[in-house]
């Protein structure tokens, strides 16, 4: 009961900050923030980071971390791009093959991470740091550092098209968020993920196969990187190693801001989505003010610290702290 109350409070703080951020942005950008151009812009920018963040959060719930999500996405994106380029004669078949290859590559990297963590027993941060460096390297070797660009309209539609007026990438993001919340909230595996994050020794003794659950976790994380990869190559109309590297730490930030406990065991998709929208509101709002994107980064960091401090104060006042 106590835990439930405390969680409710965290979400309240989060929604409060979101509303506060929106209000401030409306006040400082009168007439520009609440325009359809800006809102559509936000809807197009959010999904990449959003899908990657979902891939990060699922791992963090088990108490791990996945530093290789961006490297995985780039690797999958480059594979897809190579197939798309070599099959330019038949765009539809090429697209299908590229999509399958993208999922296969991202899934295999996720699986590899899972094996390193679950069976070899490497700390997640190191295992994924290793695979991050490795696959960044492989991506550079494959592309020789060059950009692969120019895709068919079919591919471009994923990242830039709209369906019934709703940006297509936003639909992909909503779909991914739904899948993730079903996995986490409704399946046995999802429940085990939370439990492993809380106490992995207890789960072992309750007959849960920790290794199997962890492997599934990293596999899912990898697959989400694959989805993000399709959106990324379509939005940039190109693939290259090193795209989106700056997203890596932001995904951790967004997850934690959304209430995911970095020690594992807690976190909901809804919280993460609210956190993502908050970050996007801040970044779009400051962009309208023509403030440097680096100031936005600084403010993200500041908001992060503020939220953690507020949560801590609520915690201590409620005396929920053990």
């Amino acid at each position: 009961m106590k835990a439930l109350k405390f969680k409710k409070n965290e979400t309240t703080v989060l929604i409060g900050i979101l509303v506060f951020a929106i209000l401030i942005m409306i006040i400082v950008n009168p007439g520009t923030f609440l325009t359809s151009t800006n809102l559509r812009g936000m809807a197009f920018q959010l999904p990449e980071l959003g899908i990657l963040t979902l891939g990060m959060m699922v791992v963090m719930i088990t108490g791990g971390i996945n530093l290789s999500i961006i490297a995985t996405a780039n690797m999958a994106g480059i594979t897809a791009a190579l197939i798309l380029k070599s099959m330019e004669a038949s765009p539809v078949l090429g697209f299908l093959l590229a999509f399958l290859a993208c999922i296969a590559v991202s899934g295999s990297i996720g699986l590899f991470n899972g094996v390193l963590v679950a069976y070899i027993g490497i700390t997640p941060i190191l295992a994924t740091l290793g695979t991050m460096t490795l696959f960044n390297g492989v991506a550079i070797v494959i592309t020789k550092g060059y950009v692969i660009s120019g895709f068919s309209p079919l591919v471009l539609y994923i990242g830039n098209g709209s369906l019934l007026g709703v940006p297509f990438p936003l639909l992909i993001f909503i779909f991914s968020a739904l899948i993730m919340s079903v996995i986490l909230g409704k399946t046995r595996t999802g429940f085990s993920m939370y439990m492993i994050g809380s106490n992995s020794i207890a789960t072992k003794f309750s007959g849960i196969n920790n290794a199997k659950v962890l492997i599934k976790t990293y596999l899912i994380s990898g697959l989400f990187s694959g989805f993000a990869a399709m959106v990324m190559i379509s939005r940039f109309n190109s693939a290259k190693s090193g795209y989106g590297n700056s997203y890596l730490l932001v995904t951790i930030l967004a997850s934690v801001l959304g209430g995911v406990n970095s020690d594992g065991g807690f976190g909901k998709v809804s919280g993460v989505v609210i956190a993502l929208v908050t970050l996007q509101v801040l970044s779009s709002g400051f962009n309208l003010l023509r403030v440097s994107s680096f100031l936005t980064t600084a403010i993200w960091g500041f908001v992060m610290i503020a939220v953690m401090v507020i949560n801590h104060i609520i915690d201590t006042n409620k005396k929920v702290v053990v």
Partner: protein, 347 residues
């Protein structure tokens, strides 16, 4: 326990020797004093940051913000030096003060508000780095104060190549080694150093034994800041320009080097000697690839493999040795700490 701990460093050393043999057999230039001195000079920058990272890891924390701290200390110090003149000693002192201040903020946030170290330092990294770029507008500084160049050229020992070109042990290498020796003494012989291991081994026990946990945690992150600041100045000495974006992005490599040297991310384990070997291992991989004329694009692939294989081997061994019972893990971990502390006392 003592033997096992020793074994890790010998392990890394053995890998270095093997790499060394392979590289030398392909390009004999690897095994020359000139190359060795050069490696020790150009990696001093990474190595000094690694000392700070080692302290943080031993205490059971992690720091992602040190690269941002290093850049800020470097940039601000050089701006101030250009403005008021100053001297090399002043530059180091001023940078260290900035580093300590920024690091102490991390330590205070982590301890006072119980925010996990990785989150705190990612947040402060964004904050520090973002503000730095906003204020500097990303401008590079090309004209350093003249004493930066003359100081960087000081050699403690000068030898000449066959062509008459001078080379030798740079003052930068000396700074790195002095810092390593001092911090090694601090870790092994002082109460503060032993408390770090105790804190990383078991936070709750350390608190109950009466170790001033808050001040030690603030100290650790402030120390990290100081090391990062010195590294920042060393970086300026090495490249003779200051770019606000040249250090940020290297933080994970430094952490990887320290972990390769045997420090554990769960705290309580690690030595300066191991850290040195870890830094040199990555340095030699990079240097060796250049000497063997392997295209530079392969560098990340090799580093990734080295990290996965070497960390994987030791993790797998550790996992095998305690696979029998889960309860044992707990007991073994606590005896590990005891043994460590006992061993520290003996040394």
């Amino acid at each position: 326990m003592k033997k096992l701990l020793k074994r890790h460093e010998t392990y890394v050393f053995a890998i270095i020797i093997i790499f060394g043999c392979i590289i030398t057999s392909i390009n004999p230039n690897f095994l020359t004093l000139e190359n060795a001195f050069d490696l020790l000079k150009s990696n001093a920058f990474i190595g000094i940051m690694a000392i700070g990272v080692l302290f943080v890891l031993i205490s059971g924390g992690i720091d992602i913000s040190f690269a941002a701290t290093a850049t800020i200390a470097e940039y601000v110090t050089i701006l101030v030096c250009l403005e008021i003149g100053g001297s090399m000693l002043f530059a180091f002192a001023f940078a260290v003060l900035i580093g300590i201040a920024l690091g102490a903020v991390n330590g205070y946030l982590i301890d006072r508000f119980a925010i996990p170290p990785i989150i705190t330092t990612i947040a402060t990294m964004n904050l520090y780095y973002g503000l730095l770029i906003v204020f500097t507008k990303g401008r590079w500084i090309y004209a350093l104060p003249p004493y930066f160049r003359s100081f960087a050229d000081i050699r403690v020992l000068t030898l000449y190549t066959e062509n008459g070109l001078p080379y030798g042990i740079s003052i930068i290498t000396v700074i790195w080694f002095v810092l390593m020796i001092l911090s090694s003494l601090l870790l092994v012989y002082t109460r503060l150093g032993r408390s770090l291991y105790a804190l990383g081994g078991d936070y709750v026990s350390a608190k109950r034994v009466g170790i001033p946990v808050r001040s030690i945690r603030v100290f650790v992150y402030a120390f990290m800041g100081a090391m990062a600041a010195i590294a920042g100045i060393v970086q300026a000495l090495l490249v003779q320009t200051v770019a606000p974006n040249s250090i940020v992005g290297k933080e994970l490599n430094v952490i990887a080097a320290v972990v390769l040297g045997g420090a554990s991310l769960s705290g309580g384990v690690g030595t300066v000697a191991g850290m040195f070997l870890g830094v040199m291992l990555l340095a030699i991989v990079q240097n060796g690839m250049t000497l063997m004329r392997v295209p530079a694009v392969w560098y990340d692939v090799f580093v990734g493999i080295v990290v996965i294989v070497s960390v994987g081997a030791s993790s797998y061994k550790a996992k095998k040795s305690k696979a029998t019972s889960v309860i044992d893990i707990q007991e073994k971990d606590s005896t590990t700490c005891d043994a460590l502390q006992a061993q520290g006392g003996k040394q």
